[in-house]
Symmetry: C2
Subunit: 343 residues, 2 copies
Amino acid sequence: MNAPVIAVDVMGGDLGPSCTVPACISFLEDTPLVKLILVGLSAEITSLLPPLTDSVHERIEIIDATDVITMDDPIAVALRAKPQSSMRLCLELVREGKANACVSAGNTGALMALARFTLKTIPGIDRPAMMCCLPTQANKDCYLLDLGANVDCSAEQLFQFAVMGSVAAEVMGVINPKVALLNIGIESIKGNQQVKQATSLLESQNKLNYIGFVEGDGVYRGDVDVVVCDGFVGNVLLKSSEGVLKLLRTRLENRFKANWLGKLKGFLMFLPMLRGLRKDFSPEQYNGASFLGLQGVVVKSHGAADGVAFKSALRHAYTEVEENLQARLSKQISSLLEDVLLQ
Amino acid sequence: MNAPVIAVDVMGGDLGPSCTVPACISFLEDTPLVKLILVGLSAEITSLLPPLTDSVHERIEIIDATDVITMDDPIAVALRAKPQSSMRLCLELVREGKANACVSAGNTGALMALARFTLKTIPGIDRPAMMCCLPTQANKDCYLLDLGANVDCSAEQLFQFAVMGSVAAEVMGVINPKVALLNIGIESIKGNQQVKQATSLLESQNKLNYIGFVEGDGVYRGDVDVVVCDGFVGNVLLKSSEGVLKLLRTRLENRFKANWLGKLKGFLMFLPMLRGLRKDFSPEQYNGASFLGLQGVVVKSHGAADGVAFKSALRHAYTEVEENLQARLSKQISSLLEDVLLQ
C-alpha cells in the first residue's frame, strides 16, 4: 500500500493556519509514512512554513484555495456560495482518490453537509453519524454516536449507528466491542418507540455483540464500549458533561482563590488535573471526532484545538486509513443488512 | 388556612421506615405549622417512634397500610395487586382532601402511575412531569423538566412543561423566571420537530418569559432558570451528569491513594467538597423532585435518601403547599391555553 495521504483544511478552527500548519509539520516529522496536502490560502501557508528537512519537504504539498468557510457561514453558503473553499477542495481530493482522508477544524455543520454532498454515504447507510470517545471509570474509552448530525433518527438509523460504532471501535483496538442503546432504564419496557424498534433489529442479528440498554451514568462507568443514541440526545449528553466539569472547576477555583495557600495548592495539584480531565471530555480535541458512514475518511477536530490536539485529529485520521475503516464498514454493513432483511 | 397536612409513605426508599420515621419526627420538631400522616406498617412505625413531645405528638397520625410496593414491582402490580399499599393510601388521602401533599421515596414508576390514576391531571395538562433543580455557575438553581415521566413528548406537552416549570420556579422564589427549550444549538433552525413546534407555541404567548434555546452546557452555566425537554433527554442529562461526577471522584481518589500525604490532603480538602457537589447533582436527594401537573402535590425523594435528604423532600412539599403551587398552576395553564388557542 502506498503511503496514506491526508488532505488538511488548514484554514479551519479558531486559530487557523498559525495553529494547523505547524501541527502538520510536526505530524510529518513524527510519522514517516504519511503525506499531507495542505489546502488553504497558499501565500499564508508558505509564510508559516519553517525550514523543512528533505524528508518532510518531499511529503508535503500545498493546494491553493481562494475561499474560506467561516464558523458562522450557514450551510447554504458553504454548499453554494464558496465553490473554492479549502474545506470543499479537501473533500474533493478524497473523492478523486488523491487523498485517503480529510481533516478539518472548521464549521461542523458545513463540513457534514459538504462531506455528504461530495463523498456520499456507504451503500446501506442513510446518513453519516459523528462519533467521539469518552473516558470511563473502567479506564477504557467508550465510543458514543451520534453527536448531533441527526436529530430525529429512525430505528433503522440507530441500527446502522450500532454497526458503524462497533466496526470503528474494533478499528481503534477494542476486541468484540460491547454495543448498547442509550436508554432511561435497562428493563425491556423502557424507552421511546425508536429505541424499542432498534432493539428488535439488533436482537435479530448475531454479528454484533449487542448487550441491551445502558443509562447515562453507565456510559461513564465503562459498562460498554459503544453507546448508540440519536444526535439530539448524544449532543445533550456531551455538552452537559462539559457543563458539569466547568461548574466543578469554577467551584474548585473559587475555593482556591480564597487564600494564598489555597492558590498554591490549586496551582500545583488540582487545576492541572482538572484541565486534563476536561480535555478528555472535549473529545474532538482529545483525538478527533469521526464522521462515519461516508465513502471516505473525514475527521473533525475541535474548533478550539491547539497544535497538540490538531495533531491528535491527524493521527486519528491516519489510523482510520491504515486500519481500512471504510472498507470494513462497508463489508460489515452489507453483511448485517442481509441478515436483517432475510428475517 | 389550616396547618398543611403531608401524607408520608414511610415504607418507600432503600432504607425504609428506619430512615423515614426519624426524619418525620425531626421535621415536625423543626416546623411548627405542619401535620404529618405516617402511612405504613403501623407496628413497625410505632416501634421506631422515640418519646414524643406534646407538640409533636398532637401533629402526628399513623395510618396502617398492609401492602408495600417494592422498588422492583412492575407498574401493573402497583396499580392492581396492592390496593392497600402505603403509597396508594397516601395519594388517596390527598385526593380525599385529608392531606395537602404526598411524599414518597418509593418506586418512581409506580408513584407516577398511581398518582395519575388517583389524583388525575389538572385540566389542560395531558401528562404530569417530573422536575428537579440543578446547581449552576451563576450560583442559582436551574429547574429541569421532564426527568423521565414522558419519553415521547408532543410540542403541546413541552409547552405545558414550560408553563409548569415557570410557575414552579416562581413558587420557589425566582422572579420572572427565564424559560428555555433544551436544544443542540441556539439558532432557530436547530432541533427536532417537537422542539421547533414548541417554540412557535411559546413565542405566541406573552405571559412566560420565554427566551429561546439553551444547550447542554448552558444548563450548568446558569443561563436560564427553567429548562424544558422531553423525559428521555432530561433523564440522560441528569444521569450522565451523575456519571461524570462519579468518574471525576474516582480519578481524584485514585490520585489521593497514591501516597499518604495525598490521602491526608484528599481527606481534608477535596473529598468533602466533591461529596457535597455530587449531592447537588442527585437533586431528588437535594430537595425532592416535584411531580407537576397533578390535582395534588406529590414529591418524590431519592430512593437512596438519608434522613437529612428525606427532610428536604418534606420541606419541598411543605413549600409547594404553602405557596399554593397547584392552584397557581391551574390558573396559569388555563390562561395560557386560552391565549394560544385564540391565535
